[in-house]
Amino acid sequence: MTGSGEFTFDGTAVPFDTGDHLLTALVRVGIHPTGGGTLCAEGHSPHCVAEVDGSAYVHTCQTLAREGMVVRAHPTGAPPVLPSIASPERPVAVRNIHHEVIVIGGGESGRAAAAAAGAPIVDAKDGSEAIGIYPGPMVAVRTDDGMVHAHVNRVVVATGALPLLPVCPGNDLAGLYTPMAAERLTAAGVDLGQTVRITGPPDRFEGDIRVRSVVVGGERIECDAVIVDIGTTPNEVLARMGAGLAIDTVGDAATAASPPPCPVEGTVCPCNETTMAELAEAWARGFTSMELLKRASLAGTGVCQGAVCSPYLQSFIADRTGSVEAPFTARPVARQATLSEIAAGRHHPAVPRTSLHAIHEAAGATMDRLGGWWRPWMYSDVGAEYDAVRNAVSLGDVGTLGKFIVSGPDAEAALQRLISTDVSTIRPGRSRYVLMLDERGYVLDDGMILREPEGDRFFVTVTSGGASVAEMWFRDWTAHLNVRWMNVTMALGAINVTGPRAPELLARVGFDETLPMLQHTESDIANVPCRVVRLSFTGEVSFELHHPFARSGELWHALLDAGADLGVVPHGLDALSRLRLEKGHIIVGQDSDYDSTPRRLHHDWMVNLDSGNFIGRHAVERTNRLALDKQLVGLESEGPAPFEGAVAWTPDGEYAGYVTSAAWSPTLDRSVMLAWIRLADGELPEEVWIEGESARRVALPFYDPAGTRARG
């Protein structure tokens, strides 16, 4: 609540009257917030900024004094200390409003524009300050109640003119005021002492800390304060900020103004303490334009964003070239803003949760964000989870898989275009593990294609986190075909029932069909309608149960209940990553890179060059003629599993490649790895060294190479 009272400035109590801005109260007791420099009381001058209640760079002339505020001067010669993340700022609310037109500035021209357009006005005098214009256009407005984001079709900038601040020796003394500042301070009862008004560029100001005299045209005038009335310059920074957007500038902001006379000496950029001498030095080094001078001297990059120095840089250049350059490029924000104000209305991306998320959490799972989803990393004992898969039966939540239904007369042709296999040979009720390549023949994603009994309808899965890209890819490449796509990734849950006792468990809940490997069917399991897909990522007998999103919980619990005496437990990604690695199954994005051809990935067996003109085919044909330079291989080591990304060295100490996946295999009693390894003279090394341990290159998979366990 505003009222008479006290705030502190650097620990000293400062009284204020109702309606005082901080600056008013400070000047009343003889304090200059930054020690010196011309005050404008309009929020343009950098000389009134201070830290207010923990926020730095606050214009004290725009901030109403409140009881108990803590105001501190910025450190001398150093930037203010950033707020600690241990005490985050309070969130700032945002209010989105929509108008055809908005007018920034409540002066005569602004009011006229608003009346003509029937538009609202944003005016700092009314407590709403436009601090930036963004594409849209969207005008960001700071108010006492938080931020307002005004979404409009047109912006009218009617922000008037800025007072020119003097550039000369002594312009860093206290006691210098623009006419507006003097008027406002005097009106608030501040005694400025004996003042003198100057209307032309001063030679210099004299004094110790405070001004004691001003010299104009060689004449010295004694005084307590100087009212610097030396002209104005258009205040059109917001208009420049919105270059290319629908913005009109009116009134004094649109008035072409000649730059002021070029100063001879003094500080031209008080924010960065850039002097006229330094401008001259930069010019001599060849920085001979507004933008170059700005970069070389830092003038214009400080708190006031060029409000003080921009006209003088123009005059400096005009003095040397005879022509006036346009002002700097402007970018949001035009006023200091807190991080909370900038973040107002922003949300971090929401991470999808599978249909079983709450159940995983209730089971005590450690959840992590992987592949763009919240997923259970581990429940309680990764070893027990691993053992359940290898020796009994386990459940895995695979609802994160990208999932699509494809239909239409051209469905097969569409998939044939996208997939490097012969889709026509996938019979109804059958499925196939497939690769998608990009135009350069690099692996974009992998997944499964299932052909439905109808024949012209397919179900396609891709990697977790790959669904959005895959959908765009599918639609882009098949837009000319008579095909329907439906992304059902977030509409289906999926549970992987895996382990040697998986068929026994499923039989207990109503599925007792003998479903061969890579076949699929539809069946009610525990009364939940499921698409049952026979495949294996873990290396054991596995059934993926794709089912309605809302029914995951009952299916999950039914499976756990029915399999309790079979030792069923759920497994998380930690166990799954070890299981699949033992089988040598890759994870696209982890084991593949941006230049991974099927041949480099050791997956060239998945490319059928006789299967038509699939995307990437010509690139594959071309790269197949080149010498193989590196390959994803399997490595084994008796030592501990290295970290993923560990470098592999040849026995001669040459760089050989790096590890993409690694884990200790309980079953094999050794570390197993996938690694990119370079060929030397056309040969892969038989041995590499990783983190001081020897690793042998071995054929994949590490576990059950005949695949008898997966087939069941």
């Binding site: 849209g136 977030m490 509409a491």
Partner: protein, 132 residues
């Protein structure tokens, strides 16, 4: 309904992918609320099934949606605080609300905000925050 209460409910829905022409001509069950998500896709709320509008259409009973029912005052506040786009005067609008893809259906007596179930918990948290 309390003015700023949020009621969350699962929706029975059917999603249909078909040619735009077939979707344009289709007649849906009378009690369905039709959301035309895209030229080739429609979401029918509050129905369990629908006839295929053409032979190759995909008709998919979709349980993956959640509806939040708000009063008009609450809906207005949500849009003011968490959407950069204006709500429709009536009927369907689509866009991000609180950073999450959402559909809004503006009815006379209430607003429905419909999101995918995988994002519903986050969405609810953010709605509550905006309405607090």
């Amino acid at each position: 309904m309390a003015e700023f209460a949020v009621v969350r409910e699962r929706i029975a829905a059917v999603r249909i992918a078909a040619t735009p022409t077939a979707l344009d001509a289709a007649r849906w069950p009378a009690d369905a609320t039709e959301l035309r998500l895209a030229p080739d896709e429609v979401l029918l709320l509050d129905v369990l099934d629908a006839a295929a509008p053409e032979p190759h259409a995909i008709v998919f009973p979709d349980t993956g949606w959640v509806r939040f029912v708000l009063s008009p005052a609450a809906g207005t506040r949500v849009f003011e605080g968490a959407a950069t786009w204006p709500p429709p005067a009536h009927g369907l609008g689509q866009g991000a609300i609180a950073g999450i893809p959402a559909k809004v259906i503006v009815n006379t007596d209430c607003w429905w905000l419909v999101v995918q179930g995988v994002l519903a918990d986050d969405f609810e948290d953010r709605l509550v925050e905006v309405l607090a």
